[in-house]
Symmetry: none
Subunit: 249 residues, 2 copies
């Protein structure tokens, strides 16, 4: 048995990577310039977008304006209590909040966490650890997103819902076999781009199938018959002779 039938992308995580990873935006709130600086440098180096605020009022303002994906918040701010900042944010957003603080006291932590913080790191902190906690916070918040991101791709004649694994055409659902769906998925996840024959074969049929181009011809024909308005004159599944295929919306 060369290939397995059930080639689902191991469940969950699957559909993230199709479209390039977006930049995550971090809001850093601290009144100590050297800490802000260190964080900004480290975060930018890891391809985060970073905004900074040095007091609570600015933090709330920037958060409202920029909608960060995660907030790193020092509790010792000059103008207002850190817990107040947390409450101010929680009034309207669930953005993950990672608290930084020099206080080790247990009830400080409890107060901050119960006010709505997601994590609490005491200074001095290891940059590696903070970054790992930040990744955890972002990862946790992400799953709400991917469903909406690129879940639906539309053309004039049909609609592909990647999350629900559904294809809609003219008021009815189109039934696709696993292989048909898999092929469609690879193409649709690379809209407008040429996908080589080898890549299609290997992604759908497995690494051993780099040259069986007749498979592609058969299944491309089926996709066109089910989805194209005029299968003989395809407008969305374009053949690039000798190279591969391209999906056009």
């Amino acid at each position: 048995m060369s290939r397995q039938a059930g080639h689902e992308p191991a469940g969950a995580g699957g559909q993230g990577d199709g479209k390039g990873r977006r930049m995550y935006r971090v809001l850093v709130v601290d009144d100590e310039p050297q800490i802000v600086k260190a964080l900004v440098i480290n975060l930018r180096a890891r391809a985060y977008e970073v905004d900074a605020a040095h007091d609570g009022a600015a933090a709330l303002r920037v958060a409202a304006a920029r909608h960060p994906d995660v907030v790193v918040l020092d509790l010792g701010l000059p103008d207002m209590d850190g817990v107040e900042v947390i409450r101010g944010l929680r009034g309207w957003t669930r953005v993950p909040i990672i608290v930084l603080s020099a206080r080790h006291a247990s009830d400080e932590k409890v107060d901050a966490l119960d006010a709505g913080a997601d994590d609490y790191v005491t200074k001095p902190f290891g940059m590696d650890e903070l970054l790992a906690r930040l990744r955890a916070a972002v990862r946790r918040a992400a799953p709400s997103g991917p469903d909406d991101d690129a879940s639906a791709v539309e053309t004039e004649t049909f609609t592909v819902d990647l999350a629900a694994r559904k294809v809609h055409r003219g008021g009815a659902d189109v039934r696709l076999t696993p292989t048909e769906w898999h092929l469609l998925e690879v193409l649709v996840r690379n809209p407008g781009r040429l996908v080589s024959q080898k890549q299609l074969l290997q992604e759908v049929w497995g690494p051993a199938y780099g040259t069986e181009t007749n498979y592609l011809r058969v299944y491309m024909a089926q996709l066109r018959r089910k989805l194209e308005a005029d299968p003989a004159r395809p407008r969305h599944f374009i053949t690039e002779p000798g190279m591969g295929y391209r999906f056009e919306a």
Copy 2:
């Protein structure tokens, strides 16, 4: 026989009265009896349901059987590396994981967090702090659980009340076995979406049951017999051959 038959204790632990606060279930994993004891006492006092496991294998087994709302995991287990336990859980569930560890080393924390842990607490820890972090984890996870969203789903022939754990059909309640209910629940919580065979098997039977598709066939048949108007021609529990099943309202 890795799994015990009845996970959901019939009426017991389940989310009780429609709106009221349901009991949260915590899985405590640690090989030091005194720590387990302390945690169990403190958690039970705060109205959590608590399960305990003293090694990694038991942890994975109990998690699969009991579906806790949060896992407190000691990294220093006798039988396997704690990070492996995290990976084992993350293979099929997003349940929040709070790691306990005596190790303060930064890279230990980074490894655990990147493997999928949500929080990392070093021993010795303050019980207040741990409980606050636990509350934060539960609070964060709650909104994602569509428990409240669509607590009742209707079709032409039957009604599913997710909160009350009841299925109504033609003026009478339909009696479902625990496994039948669990399967129905997973499908109904993803209306219109294709749920892969592997996901169904792992969510209902546990992470080790990714390939026993005959279970699915048997239980899907039972669900259809009890709920479909014409079980031979299902309108709500749709088979997507080779891929999975889909619930349509």
